[in-house]
């Protein structure tokens, strides 16, 4: 039987504020345990939460970016459960009246096609603390620095049909929150993580199958792997006559398997109710419009501009706008060199390749956009050959200075036409057989000649020039 996978994602993204959602404690990452946990975060008696204005602004930005309705009236609720990383005994979250309503994003799926994925809602909530289970004499250590950190939980519709689509959606949301500068999206530090609701059904069936929820997945790679392994597990169970149990499962990356955490019967009863400590949040149309005015250029708009104004292909523009920093780097290199297409090729090709190989991000690149532009300029005016450009690129990467310094120090310059002609004459004289073949109409032999000339010139000849002179001489 052919099966169809149905996936919905809940993405938790940490908002990049200086202070917590309901207190004035710092949200800086990596502080000494419990030095950023104040009386409000600790849930001490008599304290009152006061909502951070920036958190509201950031949520509105996200809502506008996905074309969603921003709620004019939004309410916080208590989600009750007992766990020591949540000292109040409840998490402040939103239930009935979330700040962001229905919206959607467009993702790119196989062979350049696109698909709309619905966003059901996005709501604000506070993060919990961290439990350290290593041995404290049989006890658990609690660090509450993270308690009260603002989160935006983005809930999608069950619109995705493969693990690849789920990854594309997650990447899209990741790119969006980074563009909007509402989150640093740092997955290692837990600023961007997701839960996946996964089910399968026979292809063509309308009703959804029973779903399981995969918890706390913190990388794009793991989302794909976790979903694929869970889909396999569900199909195996159904095909051997079993039934899927609705439950929460944990993905174990080391063993590449999912395992049960708790079933629906053991599921918590959260007893949501409006938090009496917090009044309803009112957002006026004016508030929304003034935030809308300050929105940065979003990826889709930027991509269209790169295609239209800079003449990039759809493919190149999509890659370059997938990340805000990458787009900024490219744009600077393109503007400073005046060579958009060359800049796109170098950024997507050599530079990205080198960064990937050394596991660096664009912001850590030892070659700045200005340096790359300097090299591209020289290449475009034929002051160096493309082979020399690669040498300059390597030297810049290794910190030997900018392009002009390296070109000067290494004495890089293309062979002049006199030198090239001399080499060509020699090669023609030494290879009479190939000349015969060429004259007999075997055009392919041209490649042989160009190769010989390039070799003899040690890469200093400009291939275009070599081609031109060769064609004339062989006539």
């Amino acid at each position: 039987m052919e099966w169809e996978t149905v996936i919905g994602l809940e993405i938790h993204t940490q908002l990049a504020t200086k202070s917590k959602i309901f207190s004035g404690a710092s949200t800086a990452y990596g502080a000494v345990p419990n030095t950023q946990a104040c009386a409000v975060d600790l849930g001490l008696p008599g304290v009152l939460p006061v909502l951070n204005k920036e958190v509201v602004t950031m949520a509105i930005k996200f809502g506008l970016a996905i074309g969603a309705e921003v709620a004019h009236r939004s309410v916080f609720a208590r989600k009750n459960y007992f766990y020591p990383d949540l000292p109040k005994g409840y998490q402040i979250s939103q239930m009935d009246l979330p700040i962001v309503g229905k919206g959607s994003v467009e993702i790119e799926i196989e062979d350049g096609k696109t698909k709309i994925v619905g966003v059901t809602r996005a709501h604000l909530e506070e993060d919990a603390g961290k439990s350290l289970h290593e041995d404290y004499h049989g006890m658990t250590g609690i660090d509450l620095n993270r308690a009260g950190t603002p989160l935006l939980e983005i809930v999608s519709e069950p619109d995705m049909r493969s693990a690849k689509e789920a990854v594309a959606y997650m990447k899209k949301i990741h790119s969006l929150v980074r563009y909007l500068e509402i989150s640093d999206g740092n997955m290692q530090e837990g600023s961007f993580r997701c839960d996946a609701n996964v089910s399968v059904r026979p292809k063509g069936q309308k009703e959804f199958g029973t779903r399981t929820e995969l918890k706390n997945i913190n990388s794009f790679k793991f989302v794909e792997k976790a979903i694929n392994i869970e889909v396999e597990r569900q199909i195996d169970i159904i095909e051997s006559g079993g039934k899927i149990v609705q439950e929460t499962r944990l993905y174990d990356a080391d063993k590449n398997e999912t395992r049960s955490m708790r079933s629906k019967e053991e599921a918590m009863d959260y007893r949501y109710f409006p938090d009496p400590d917090l009044l309803p949040v009112e957002i006026t149309e004016d508030d929304i419009r003034s935030i809308e005015k300050d929105l940065p250029e979003l990826p889709a708009v930027k991509q269209a501009r790169f295609e239209k104004d800079m003449g990039l292909s759809n493919y190149d523009a999509a890659i370059l706008t997938s990340d805000k920093d990458l787009a900024a780097f490219f744009e600077e290199a393109a503007n400073k060199s005046g060579q958009a297409k060359l800049a796109a090729n170098w950024v997507i090709g050599d530079l990205s390749g080198r960064l990937n190989k050394e596991d660096k991000s664009i912001t850590d690149s030892p070659i700045t956009a200005e340096m790359l532009a300097g090299m591209i300029k020289r290449l475009a005016e034929n002051a160096i050959t493309s082979k020399m450009a690669k040498e300059v690129f390597d030297a810049m990467w290794n910190g030997e200075g900018d392009a002009d310094q390296i070109i000067e120090k290494r004495g890089l310059k293309p062979a002049d036409s006199g030198e090239v002609e001399k080499i060509i004459d020699e090669i023609i004289a030494n290879n009479p057989d190939q000349v015969e073949q060429f004259k007999a109409g075997k055009g392919k032999v041209m490649g042989f000649f160009v190769g010989q000339v390039m070799k003899a010139s040690k890469g200093k000849a400009d291939p275009a020039q070599v081609n031109k002179i060769l064609s004339e001489k062989l006539k």
Binding site: A25, K53, G138, G141, L279
Partner: protein, 95 residues
């Protein structure tokens, strides 16, 4: 609306309250009485009333995003039963 002893046990468990088996019938009766009292409000016609999220007719005031709290860990941890390496120690919670 009347609660039975299973409801009482569930509520106690959710609230992490330890109760005596012998007291359960009394709790069931008292809690049911409270619910009956609240149930009287069902008689009111609320069709045209939008749900209220807070008894005060006011809206949330927002604070600027600024760090205003200093580290008072030593002070707070004086009251904790057990601390080590700056962590609050609690009974083991991992399953």
């Amino acid at each position: 609306m009347s609660l039975d002893s299973d409801d009482v046990k569930k509520i106690a468990n959710l609230a992490r309250l330890q109760i005596d088996e012998a007291d359960i019938p009394d709790y069931a009766k008292n809690l049911s009485n409270i619910l009956d009292l609240v149930e009287q409000m069902d008689a009111a016609d609320t069709d045209k009333v939008s749900p209220m999220a807070h008894p005060l007719d006011a809206v949330q005031r927002l604070r600027p995003d600024a760090v205003t709290e200093e580290n008072q860990r030593e002070h707070f941890q004086e009251h904790a039963p057990k601390v080590e390496d700056g962590l609050y120690l609690v009974p083991q919670v991992i399953e």
